[in-house]
């Protein structure tokens, strides 16, 4: 057992020991003492004739007591700790953070019952120290090591149970790593362990759930479908009996449409319907049941990004052809101010933010009938086959930095270059007068690919509806971003590196402010496996073994030194007060 000191600098206070000795040696104070007059005359007066005599320092018992007290106090101040065998073990609590713990059985949700249990455990058998691990989508430590219940309770405020899944296995692994096989691990959840059997002597699994009947919205999507939005709602009945629930769908400001859904046991019902694209938001709710969290979703309109295209072709027929093709893609914006794509015939700079497509029909032209080499993995060439197409182009080679996407032999027909600002410059080596490409399906495919690629690179949110716990991608130009969560919490990202993956810890509508523009996205709680409460149960699995093996733990010994010092101080007090000590 090798003790070690937490604050070794406190040993400086040992200087008080020589100070005490100095007090005794250098100054033996005359002390007033009431004595009997009967002994006054028996006081021995040494003969001065004997000369100087060496007097041995007479140190009283109090001196040694005081020395010991000071020593004990200084040692205690250094925070001595040592490894010793402990009867009680530290506790690591793994808290299931999935939303199924919000299910109400009786008048309390499982989370609250688990909290009450933990509080009782603390009062009955307080552990020497406690750590909390939150098992959400990934495990996370809650605070540091805490001791009293009050501190544990403060940390439990972060146990909100809004996660769509629980990484209990990973959390238990983390707990085992933190506990180093010494700590007891307590799992608080609402379902039994997978194996129904706990073999570890250090793990107790307590579930506070109940196999409640629950109906939930388990899937929802809203996608662009022409001039309408196509919606999917999937409602599941997780009970063993048939159940009828009322589904209310509120589209924008219209009156809610209520329908009765009769679902068989364990049945999933998918509802697919279209709504006008102009509908601002769609809200769907189910009747209240044991778990309210999964009874409501909100779907915002899908993001329909369109590209501002400026067609600056001087050749009228080419311009007409391109304009017609662009319109057919349905990805072109109505306006062309501040263009994001410029289609022209020269290498003139297109603007600060614009990509460019140069239609190059100059030079001696050859008509190629294939075989064409198409890089189908490139976003521009996805689905392009060029079967039967005649592509007339100037015979030349690609410039340095240009990556050919479509070639005829070694002649680049379509190539791409990226400049230092990240803008793409496309070079289309194409003479429409001698080609049949524009009459094949590959022509609109090429333009659709081009505009889709540009859309994908435009700043802003990539999607407007997400599942709880997933990341929402936000493309930025590096400016500051402020995210406002549904509970009002704001997170500011002072600088962003182009693409930001936003986490979604709460369901509801989030606001994203980039510069002066604010966008919204909706996060819905859609997790069928956690909405299914049929496997939930209450009970205990596993038990901490009460082994008698020596368990070494680092323990503070301050209290030993402090208590001993207090005892000595009390004894000292008695001796001084009763004036019986020898001075």
């Amino acid at each position: 057992v090798i003790p070690f000191l937490t604050y070794p600098l406190a040993l400086i206070a040992l200087a008080s020991l020589p100070a005490l000795a100095a007090i005794y040696i250098l100054r033996n104070r005359f002390r007033r003492r009431q004595v009997s007059s009967l002994v006054l005359w028996s006081f021995h007066v040494p003969s001065k004739a004997g000369g100087a005599k060496v007097h041995r320092l007479q140190l009283p018992l109090l001196f040694f007591l005081e020395l010991l007290v000071l020593l004990l106090l200084v040692v205690a101040a250094t925070g001595p700790r040592w490894n010793r065998s402990e009867s009680s073990r530290p506790l690591i609590v793994v808290l299931d953070d999935s939303f199924s713990l919000r299910a109400v059985n009786g008048d309390l949700p499982a989370r609250d019952r688990a909290r009450v249990f933990l509080e009782k455990l603390f009062h009955r058998q307080p552990p020497p120290s406690t750590r909390l691990i939150l098992a959400g989508a990934s495990p996370r430590l809650l605070g540091g090591t805490v001791k009293p219940w009050r501190e544990v309770d403060q940390l439990l405020a972060q146990w909100t149970c809004w996660s769509p899944g629980s990484s209990l296995d990973s959390a238990i692994t983390l707990a085992a790593e933190l506990g180093k096989q010494q700590a007891n691990i307590l799992v608080l959840t609402d379902h039994p362990p997978a194996g129904e059997k706990i073999s570890s002597p250090r793990l107790e699994w307590h579930a506070f759930g109940a196999p409640l009947e629950n109906t939930a919205i388990v899937n929802a999507s809203r996608t662009a479908f022409g001039d309408q939005d196509r919606c999917l709602l999937e409602v599941a009945n997780f009970s063993a009996a048939a159940h009828t629930t009322r589904l209310a769908v509120l589209a924008g400001t219209n009156a809610p449409q209520v329908s009765l859904l009769s679902l068989g046991a364990h049945e999933n019902r998918r509802l697919v319907f279209n709504i006008p694209a102009a509908t601002p938001s769609l809200r769907a709710t189910l009747e209240p049941d044991a778990l309210a969290a999964d009874n409501e979703i909100q779907l915002l309109p899908p993001i329909r990004k369109r590209v501002r295209v400026l067609v600056a072709l001087t050749n009228g027929s080419s311009a007409a052809l391109v304009n017609r093709t662009l319109e057919a893609t349905d990805l072109r914006a109505a306006i062309s101010d501040d263009p994001e794509l410029v289609i022209h015939e020269t290498d003139v700079a297109a603007g600060s933010n614009a990509w460019s497509l140069v239609l190059r029909a100059d030079g001696a032209t050859n008509a190629y009938t294939g075989p064409f080499i198409v890089d189908n993995s490139h976003p521009l060439a996805a689905g392009v086959s060029l079967d039967g197409a005649i592509w007339a182009a100037a015979g030349r080679t690609n410039a340095p930095g240009e990556i050919p996407v479509i070639l005829a032999g070694n002649v680049p027909l379509l190539s791409v270059r990226e400049d230092v600002a990240g803008r793409r410059h496309l070079d289309l080596n194409f003479n429409p007068g001698l080609s049949t490409l524009q009459n094949t399906p590959d022509w609109p495919v090429l333009f659709w690919n081009l505009l889709s690629w540009r859309v994908a690179e435009l700043p802003g949110l990539r999607e407007s509806n997400a599942r709880l716990g997933t990341e929402v991608i936000l493309k930025t130009a590096g400016e500051a971003v402020t995210i406002t969560q549904p509970d009002g919490t704001q997170t500011v990202f002072p600088k962003t590196g182009g693409e930001l993956a936003l986490e979604t810890p709460l369901p509801g509508v989030y606001s994203v402010t980039v510069g002066a523009i604010t966008n919204h996205f909706s996060v819905n709680l859609l997790a069928a496996n956690r909405s299914d409460l049929s496997a939930c149960a209450s009970g205990r699995w596993g038990q901490w073994s009460e082994d008698t093996r020596q368990r070494v733990e680092e323990t503070s010994a301050v209290w030993i030194f402090g208590l001993f010092a207090l005892g000595l101080l009390a004894a000292h007090l008695y001796l001084v007060a009763s004036a019986k000590a020898t001075t």
Partner: protein
């Protein structure tokens, strides 16, 4: 905010206060000083803490241990961690996370020195996102912390932008230190592109993009499978250069193309100089017949005669990988020993059949089924027949002596927590289990001498030795072959069985003292004893030739395997061979049953006799299509569905000595073709309202099932799912099942990550439809070695740092000074205890010297100098009052008479009587009473002294 973590200690104040009152110190000041001491110590014991801003926190080091890191990265990372440890404060904590494919917590946050990396993280990936997530999980939500990434920034898998945004949201800065290989002269394939599938006969283009740092001449080579289809030299300019190849798709199946460049000078990452791609060819796939005769096999010719598309190969030409098997609709193993397929090959075959709906057929012979080593093999579970040796069908008894090498080399690990010796023990137990009770068995364990473990006796009596056999351990030294043979020969001489056999198990690289075995082996052969050798190792090991010679002289077989897992199966195979009861070598008639109609049309005439067959037993639920006419009524043709696939067993020999009259039968070709057709099956595509799409994107394979938006109802009753096989060369495939999930109203999607060099083979099961196997997909090479644009790794790390407020950490120790300041409870106990010690020292000083009160007195004295000048003049009470704390309290005892001013210093005050207004001396007591008290005090002292 103040708090006490252990308030129970405040209870001590009660006895302490009692003592303080009962045993008062002589002066008021001393009393209060003592009270302060008591209070401070009790507060310290109660762990009084104050919430203060504090910079102490946690630093989590995220260390990249992937293959792309420099060779000395481990040492650099340890040095940085050591620096961090040395510079941390008393309340700081250091955690370590290492990552490759997985992120593992090597050290949870603590104040101890790091012991070193121990976890296996899978070096073929760099899951930086997962690692940062793990690091975040170690930093308490309300505690300050930073993450330090030690990496080259070449992440794979999920984009770390997600984790960095999470870190930024939690206020945890991610710093980094770039540790990277020199990339200056890295020549690499940037991409290798080819269509995922083509039609038979279609010409297509393969494009390889090569990035070269300088202009240089390089050699390139393109292979399709093992065949080189293009090679040459080319001058590659600095930057990107394209190599374009053209090929024409052959027969239906899958072609693997591998392109390689050579000749790059000082290439730091040679791993990315080879890339591969898989190209599927649509259409009906051929049947693979594996036999020793390759294309000359009679079975191949017969099947081709039946208009089947057949490929003939020898076992050595098959690599049993998923991409190789995907070329075929079915595999027929024609009398091929299990050892030539290998454990991983059999496992891959079995999984391929079960998962993808392909076919497998085994034909009989002396190298197939039990004698071929398929008993207890991975293929056994998918076969519709079982291969045990049944007692009632045994005709000859057997005596086997097993001599086991237990030399030092047998203590090497063999995976799964076992050593090689454990598997040899299992093999011996396999022999014990396979033999009939009437057979005899004896076992030796041999190192420098032979130790008898099981005496030779019947299996019935020796079954009790099972646990003793399993407990044979490795002892050290090498195996002494001669001693082993002598001891085994001595034992087998006493056997009563008609067939006597010795199995010698030895390390093929560590067999010693083998000089004189020829003589003893010759004597054994003379005594009609056979000797087989099982060599752990390969045929190229130093003692392999000697072991082969020993087996040849001994009239037995010699088996080699460097896979310890195969040892039990090899022991079983040798036991089957010597028992000679599972291959019937007599002409046997057989008849087709009604079950044959499930396979195809019955032949016009009854089949003639077989020349011999493997005696096996039909499994429950298997379809019996043909049965022998002998007393065993054994299956000749049996079939069933294993998972999605079809498995057929033909127990006769298809082409060989024991084919018998069947080989000459005019309908033999049609008979075998019927069996092969059933095995190959017929694949039906999905209906037109469903469209399957497979795409590899960012290292993940996305499988999408598109549905017709105009459909009236969903075309399936349950959710479709994907059975996934992940195959690595030389290793059994990993199986997985993934459900397709609704992505939107008309689309279902599943994402399957592709790891490293593996091949992924997906089979989509749509309820109500036949399973559809998609083309296998792979990555060009491990993503770890993907060539970087210059500085991409640094840019990735810099972006993470920018998002989170971190930076390129040059001065490592300063990271502790930049931890965020957080309010946290700081324990005051050390300070309280030091204060208590000081207060106590002050009390002693005052009690012993009175200097403290004197020091305090001086100032008032200066204000009223006349106080000390007039002896016996009582000072004004107002002037004395401030001194009362350090002066003696007026005692109830009679105060001594005022005395003249003493010459000695007056330490505390001018005497007890001086400060306060003294009582009138003996005002209420007579001199007699005073004398009486003095006497009593003297008496008590006298008594005490005595």
């Amino acid at each position: 905010m103040l708090t006490a973590f252990q308030p129970v200690w405040f209870l001590l104040l009660i006895p302490l206060a009692t003592a303080w009152v009962v045993w008062p110190l002589p002066a008021r000041g001393l009393k209060w000083l003592r009270a302060v001491v008591f209070l401070l110590v009790v507060l310290a014991l109660a762990q009084l803490a104050l919430k203060l801003p504090d910079r102490a926190g946690t630093v989590v080091v995220v260390a990249d241990r992937s293959e792309s890191m420099p060779l000395d990265a481990d040492a650099s990372q340890k040095e940085i961690i050591r620096l961090l440890y040395r510079s941390m404060g008393p309340r700081d904590q250091l955690g370590i996370v290492s990552f490759g494919r997985d992120a593992v917590v090597e050290q949870s946050p603590q104040h101890t020195e790091f012991g070193g990396f121990t976890a296996r993280v899978g070096p073929d990936h760099s899951s930086l996102n997962d690692a940062i997530e793990s690091g975040l999980s170690l930093i308490p939500a309300d505690g300050g912390g930073r993450i330090l990434v030690l990496s080259d920034g070449k992440w794979t898998g999920k984009d770390p932008a997600a984790a960095s945004a999470r870190a930024a949201g939690r206020g945890v800065a991610v710093d980094y230190r770039l540790i990277t290989r020199p990339q200056v002269s890295d020549v690499a394939f940037q991409s290798f592109l080819a269509p995922q599938s083509v039609q038979p006969g279609q010409a297509f283009v393969l494009s390889a993009w090569i990035v070269s740092p300088i202009t240089q001449d390089l050699q390139y080579q393109l292979r399709r499978g093992d065949e080189i289809i293009s090679s040459g030299a080319k001058n590659f300019a600095a930057g990107l250069t394209r190599l374009m190849f053209r090929d024409r798709a052959g027969r239906a199946g899958v072609n693997e193309y591998t392109v390689t460049i050579q000749g790059a000078k000082d290439d730091p990452v040679p791993e990315n100089n080879t890339a591969r791609v898989l190209v599927g060819v649509e259409g009906s796939k051929p049947v693979l017949v594996v036999s020793s005769a390759r294309e000359d096999s009679g079975l191949v010719k017969l099947l081709r005669g039946g208009l089947l598309d057949v490929v003939g190969r020898t076992p050595g030409q098959c690599n049993w990988s998923l991409e190789d098997l995907s070329r075929y609709s079915a595999v027929i193993l024609e009398n091929v020993p299990a050892g030539q397929v290998g454990m991983s090959g059999m496992e891959t075959l079995a999984s391929w059949v079960e998962q993808t709906g392909s076919g497998l057929a085994l034909t009989g012979g002396q190298k197939s089924y039990g004698p071929g080593g398929y008993y207890k093999s991975p293929l056994e579970r998918v076969l519709p027949v079982s291969m045990e040796m049944r007692r009632e069908h045994r005709k000859l008894s057997v005596a086997v002596v097993v001599a086991l090498d237990r030399s030092g080399s047998m203590s090497m690990p063999a995976g799964g927590g076992r050593i090689k010796m454990d598997l040899a023990d299992l093999g011996t137990v396999q022999v014990l289990d396979l033999l009939s009770p009437m057979d005899e068995i004896g076992v030796f364990a041999v190192d420098t001498v032979a130790h008898e473990i099981v005496p030779l006796d019947t299996v019935e009596r020796n079954r009790s030795y099972r646990s003793k056999i399993l407990s044979i351990g490795s002892e050290g030294g090498g195996i002494y072959i001669y001693d082993a043979l002598v001891a085994s020969a001595g034992m087998i001489q006493t056997a009563h069985a008609q067939t006597r056999h010795i199995i010698l198990f030895s390390d093929a690289a560590d067999a010693e003292q083998s000089a004189h075995y020829e003589e003893i082996v010759a004597k054994l052969r003379d005594a009609d004893v056979t000797v087989s050798v099982v060599g752990l190792g390969t045929e190229h090991d130093c003692d392999a030739n000697m072991l082969k010679d020993l087996a040849r002289r001994g009239g037995g077989d010699c088996y080699f395997s460097d896979n310890p897992d195969e040892i039990p199966r090899i022991f079983a195979q040798d036991t089957f061979t010597i028992a000679r009861s599972t291959f019937v070598d007599q002409p046997t008639p057989f008849t087709l049953t009604a079950g044959y109609s499930l396979l195809g049309q019955s032949p016009a005439s009854a089949p003639p006799s077989l020349g011999g067959y493997n005696l096996c037993y039909l499994r429950p639920e298997a379809n019996l299509a043909a049965v022998t006419g002998d007393e065993y009524k054994a299956p000749v043709v049996a079939s069933w569905n294993a998972g999605n696939g079809r498995v057929l067993c033909y127990l006769g020999e298809a082409d060989g000595k024991f084919s018998g009259e069947l080989a000459k039968w005019n309908q033999a070709g049609e008979f075998y073709a019927t069996l092969a057709r059933w095995t190959a099956g017929k694949h039906q595509p999905l209906p037109d309202d469903m469209f399957l799409l497979q795409e590899v994107r960012d290292g993940t394979c996305f499988v999408q099932l598109h549905l017709d938006p105009g459909r009236k109802a969903d075309p399936f009753s349950a959710m479709p799912r994907i059975k996934v096989l992940h195959g690595l060369p030389g290793a059994p495939p990993a199986k997985d099942t993934v459900s397709l999930a609704w992505k939107n109203a008309d689309l279902l999607e599943a994402a399957i990550p592709i790891v490293g060099r593996e091949t992924v083979l997906n089979t989509v099961e749509v309820p109500g439809q036949q399973a559809v196997t998609l083309q296998p997909v792979c990555l060009p090479y491990s993503p770890e070695f993907a060539p970087d644009q210059p500085g991409r790794g640094a840019a990735a790390l810099a972006q993470i740092a920018t998002t989170t407020g971190g930076k390129d950490r040059v001065e490592i120790p300063k990271i502790w000074n930049e931890l965020p300041v957080k309010s946290r409870y700081v324990e005051l106990a050390p300070w309280l205890l030091i204060l208590a010690a000081m207060a106590f020292l002050l009390e002693v000083l005052e009690r012993r010297t009175g200097w403290v009160s004197k020091f305090v007195v001086r100032k008032p004295a200066a204000l009223a100098p006349e106080e000390n000048t007039g002896a016996g003049i009582s000072p004004a009470p107002a002037a004395r009052k401030p001194l009362s704390l350090l002066t003696r309290k007026p005692s109830s005892a009679p105060a001594p008479a005022p005395t003249a001013k003493s010459e000695s210093p007056r330490p505390v005050a001018p005497g007890p009587a001086a400060p306060a207004a003294p009582r009138p001396p003996a005002s209420a007591e007579s001199a007699f009473d005073a004398l009486r008290r003095a006497r009593e005090r003297a008496r008590s002292r006298t008594d005490k002294d005595r």
